[in-house]
Amino acid sequence: MSGLSPQQAIGLVARREFTTQVRSRSFAVGIVISLVIFGVYALIFQFIGSRTSSDSLGVTPAAQSMVPALQQAATVAGRTLTVVDVSAAEGAEGADQLLSGDLDAVLDHPSGWTLTGRDAVGSELQVLVSTVVRQATLDQALQAAGQNPATVAAAGAVAVQTLEPEDPERGQRLGLAIVTSVLLFMSLIGYGSAVAQGVVEEKSSRVVELLLSTIRPLHLLAGKVLGLGAVGLLQLLILGAIGVVVGSVTGVLSAPSAAGPALVAAVIWYLLGFFLYASVYAAAGSMVSRQEELQSLVAPIMFPLLLPFIFAVSVLPGDPRNTLATVLSFVPFFSPTLMPARQALGVAPWWQVLIAILLTAATIVAVVAVAARIYRNSVLRTGARVSWSEALRSS
């Protein structure tokens, strides 16, 4: 009878985790839900992008003088402006149309200029109207002072230029960055908690005692993490492939060349992030005996995942070189969701990526050592939650 090497033990555990998980309904459902979420995101972005760039503005007789300038400014800004003649802003006609939503605002000129809306006036319409009115007033004043408005405007014009050529794929990169972040966030949360739940399942069903009578705790843990990590990777690749194919076919992804590196970065950061978070999740799982107790313990783990994720989808699109985001992308627990977003945006030089990878890898080594100790000390203890001092003691 031959013995069982550590590799064989880990391999057996990993294979069980992998096949059980891939055959489970949650795997297929997870992919479908992810696709639905991405579909909804895409629709929302489409909607926001194409949102009413047309306004209808009521103009009273007193404000008629502004109409040509308003139309011209709207055309320059790429907006459609429908001008409707109304008798008065406060009058029955103007107010009714505002309340019914036929008009977005009414421009009047009783003594000063007023722009009346229902409960608010869209900021873009506000800017448009106030710029035009201010310019017109200014022009009149300049002419009264004997100046040529065109000369003054030319003297005050600011020409915008960039040192580096503008990236024609910027929009694409933005989309990729957001998709990458969302994908990594969901994978790390999903498969990290799968590790915790798997550990608790073995504890609550007591099968762990049978397992540990033949293999070492560390091998059981390693097999579980590797097996579930592989499932997460498979899901990530399936989603990535579907995304690239659908994106290319529909034309949403017009620059597939940018998708390749983004996917590679996503895989690297998924692996790093998974080993980091899975260790923490496994340690947390080993400290409780029932699934219900798990929630309170893993909730804090969500925080370091959520924070960079929020940064990645809210701050980076508007300000890719945000200093705080740059600094945070080097912090090991934040790197896995923040650095790949910066990479997708093309604002992370290779040496920054390398440093972040090395820092994360070093952290993984330390975290795995602590997590393995907690796991070894806690996994056979049932009943009350294992205290931190018991979980961390040596031996």
Partner: protein, 293 residues
């Protein structure tokens, strides 16, 4: 001799002493019954044998050397807390557990078929464990202890919760494994069963072994009692004898210095004696005596 030797085990949980100098050995081909009240230390001892717990002192030896992970993989174990993956199919689960004990895939498949048939759960191999009745889960649990063809069996309460048929099957299996030369240790509260099935018995109380031996050996080590059927009210005055019970013509005495011949003579002096037999206490009675001592 492939003896399982348990020597001088000590284990403390905080300030509580769970085991103190627990020593006994199980010989090949022997069924060893491990009895004791709840919390006496049976499960702790078995967990230490399996390496699931570590002892503070003492050691477990097998084939003459301290037992290691490789040797422990040759043990068939049934934990007190039954444990199987509830959502895994019976057959796959047993094959997986066999593989974890270094059995090849082909041998594992054959062992699963053999043992599920033997224990009468063969038609359930395709079902999830959680769909089985508790009794059938117990049978699967025993299969799990047997699928890797173990060279030692350590079973914690294997009979609890079994119906009489299953008890018979389980007893048969344990006896057969012992006849193959496997040392079999099991714990149980069903002392009549232990007496019937076991070659030797170990009694543990409050973490200490208080008696080890075959049931006749335990009897000889204990007090001698004699059942007499004959005269009434004769034993009270006999020197070196204490009366255990008196019920009409039935008298049971305990020898406390006197010999059995002294007792016979005293009884005959009081009247005709119809029966005179040394009392052979069942394990239940021995257990009570030993534990209360």
């Amino acid at each position: 001799m492939i003896v399982l030797d348990i020597g001088g085990l000590r284990k403390r949980f905080g300030t509580r002493t769970a085991l103190e100098d627990v020593t006994f050995s199980v010989r090949p081909g022997e069924v060893f019954g491990f009895v004791g009240s709840n919390g006496a230390g049976k499960t702790t001892t078995m967990r230490i044998v399996l390496g699931v717990l570590s002892a503070d002192a003492g050691e477990v030896r097998w084939k003459g050397t301290a037992i290691d992970a490789e040797a422990r993989r040759r043990i068939g174990y049934m934990p007190e807390e039954r444990g199987l993956y509830p959502k895994m199919k019976v057959g796959e689960q047993l094959a997986y557990l066999a593989r974890l004990h270094a059995v090849s895939a082909a041998d594992a498949a054959a062992a699963v078929t053999r043992w599920t048939e033997r224990l009468g759960v063969a038609e359930r191999v395709g079902d999830e464990v959680q769909k089985l009745s508790l009794g059938n889960q117990q049978r699967v649990q025993l299969c799990a202890a047997l699928v890797h063809d173990p060279e030692i069996l350590v079973l914690d309460e294997p009979f609890s919760g079994l119906d009489p048929t299953a008890v018979e099957v389980m007893s048969r299996v344990l006896r057969d494994k012992a006849d193959e030369g496997v040392p079999v240790v099991f714990s149980s509260h069903q002392l009549d069963l232990v007496e019937r099935l076991c070659d030797r018995v170990g009694i543990i109380a409050a973490g200490r072994m208080v008696a080890v031996g075959s049931v006749p050996e335990l009897r000889s080590g204990g007090v001698s009692r004699i059942d007499v059927v004959g005269p009434r009210d004769w034993a009270g005055a006999v020197p070196g004898v204490s009366v255990v019970s008196e019920d009409g013509p039935h008298t049971r005495v305990e020898l406390a210095g006197a010999s059995d011949q002294d007792v016979l003579a005293a009884a005959l002096a009081a009247g005709p004696v119809h029966e005179f037999t040394p009392h052979r206490p069942p394990l239940t009675e021995l257990y009570k005596d030993v534990v209360s001592r």
